[in-house]
Amino acid sequence: MDKRRIFISPVTRIEGHANITIEMDDNGNVSDALFHVNEFRGFEKFCEGRMYTEMPTITPRICGICPTSHTLASVKACEMIQGIQPTYTANLLRRLMHIGQNLSSHALSFFHLSSPDFLLGYDSDPAKRNILGIAEKYPDIALKGIRLRKFGQELSERITGKKIHIMGIVPGGMAYPLTEDNRKALLAWIPEAIETVQAGIGIIKKFHEENAEMVASFATSPTLYLGTVGPDGEHELYDGKLRFMDADGTILQDQLLPQQYLEFIAERSVNWSYLKYPYYKPYGFDKGFYRVGPLARLNVASRMRTALAQREFELFKQMNNGKPVHGAFYFHYTRLIEALSDVEDAERILNDPQVTSTHIQHHGRWNYEEGIGSSEAPRGTLFHHYKTDETGKLKMVNLLIATGQNNPSMNRSVLEVAKQYVKGDDIKEGMLNRVESTIRCYDPCLSCSTHAIGQMPMVIEVKDKRGVVLKRLERG
């Protein structure tokens, strides 16, 4: 008999569009799993010929969830081209906006997209397994999640006047200062935000306890990790250097400059997906899988920068005796630890006497032909690399995005879960949801569309090698 295929399309409740094909062998066992990304947006190509200074405005359009990270990587690349640094206050404001984005993204991922699985259960009615279902059964949690996201967005809005596709982060600093009124209004959010994140941590810990076996065995393949750290190896999102760690916790590279990324990361294209496949160069394509994002950042970090987050971090580190934690499920937990650190850090910055200073921009002009910048997006490290001619016109643009880097591992995690939960062409809805939720652990941003409620219909097809549909399942 021919090979059979299960095709899940599109995956619901993630940002963007994706399909999963699960290939079955003759005995009805899963033999392979492919996670396709079919959307080609061509940013790198159509930016060629534009002024490099337009990139901080163009690139945030790549994603509606992590625009600030793109802007930051982009202005850093521009600042390298100009040979200048942002002002002290500009760095504070950028950090605040970055924290805001990270918080609202993590809140979206946890409360809106993932909490339905934890609170309502994987096998509950798919029509209600979403934020509306949560709002019905746990109105308090739904509201908290929505308000946390609002706080995150306000951190941008109160600095630049815009929530999503923010303007105002410019090469050399910021275009707008923070007013005293806005500073106070933002500070007022802190206690509530801390309480909400801690409630989230409570939910995930309870789920860990009640589903210990599943959590421990959920997509646990070891990989390498990449994340940004500060000078002492502390957790860092905005401005730091890079650390690579192997699966056992040995630091492979430390304090790498983002400008060195090409020495350590190589990319390969595959014929079935538009995402590129990056890998850790010294280990080659087959052994060089690495992951980025909250799990990776906490795995590589030596400590957190704030007190409450540090306490949680120590508990997290105990899970594997100080070694990296591999289970994809722990993405959720690490996302919340990061969110806690975000809120505490926001409080520290808002209390800095310099935060409302109006010395917010250094002015520069084109000086160098090449610029590379990086930042930590909610989903992981991203790099912007530009080359220009001597008038500032872009000749080459390379964008290495977070989801791209997690892609090889995402694929492997899907295969692992599919092998565990899908048998023969007997497909139960809950099983497929587990495959999907593996993908959701990584919270991939596949394009800039947001489907927070996730009412996208899902079509599952079991196909043989010739494409003949053996079985078809639809929901939506």
């Binding site: 010929g49 534009r50 002024m51 200074t53 337009e54 901080p56 405005t57 163009i58 359009r61 630049t160 596709h165 303007m167 105002g168 410019v170 090469p171 275009a175 707008y176 002015h363 002009r365 084109w366 001619d389 008038t391 500032g392 016109k393």
Partner: protein, 235 residues
Amino acid sequence: MNTIPIIIDEKKLEVDPGKTILEVCRENEIEILTMCHLKGVLDIGACRLCLVEIEGINKLLSACTTKVAANMIIRTNTDRIKKYQRITTELFFAERNHVCAVCVANGKCELQDLGYKVGLDHIRYPHLFPQCEVDTSHPWYVMDHNRCIMCTRCVRVCNEVEGAHNWDVMNRGHQVRVISDFNSPWGESVTCTSCGKCLHACPTGAIWPKAIVQGQLQKNPGMINELVEKRKMKL
């Protein structure tokens, strides 16, 4: 001076002869949409946004280039005029490549404002998507032909006010382009004085300073007429 009687939108007015319909309307706070008109330089009737109906004349005439005459009955806001304003605006957008979201002029653009004014929600004509160069050769300014609407305000201001005549126009139809000198890179111009008046005259994000990004653009087209008036003072 003797005045003449005219009627604009049912309103009886006594106006100075020798003025254009546009001037009279502006003085009397009657709204006329314009794009190629820039106070301080000659009017050329290029954009066709300021069209008005005049009783007894079949075709629509441009208010910026038509002088008032005694007993003219003028209408500025009929359905026919609104229809043409909408068409003209759509064609502006369809002719070149306007991506407001990432444009340096976003929020500070006369073309974008015009779009809002005429209620532009979609464009019925196929976009031409021409391949346009971005001229980054000038040390301070960028000329992005993707966003040029061929109003020629830059050309006129450069010639009439600065006296440099760096800018001119080549080709016809939708191949038409603003050129620097005899179609060479702006940075190589032997006539440009880098005064920046064209930047202020330009209604869109076609000419902008290299030093700024979206949200920081400041254009002051009114400054052109102020300069012209000050020069007349012969201090």
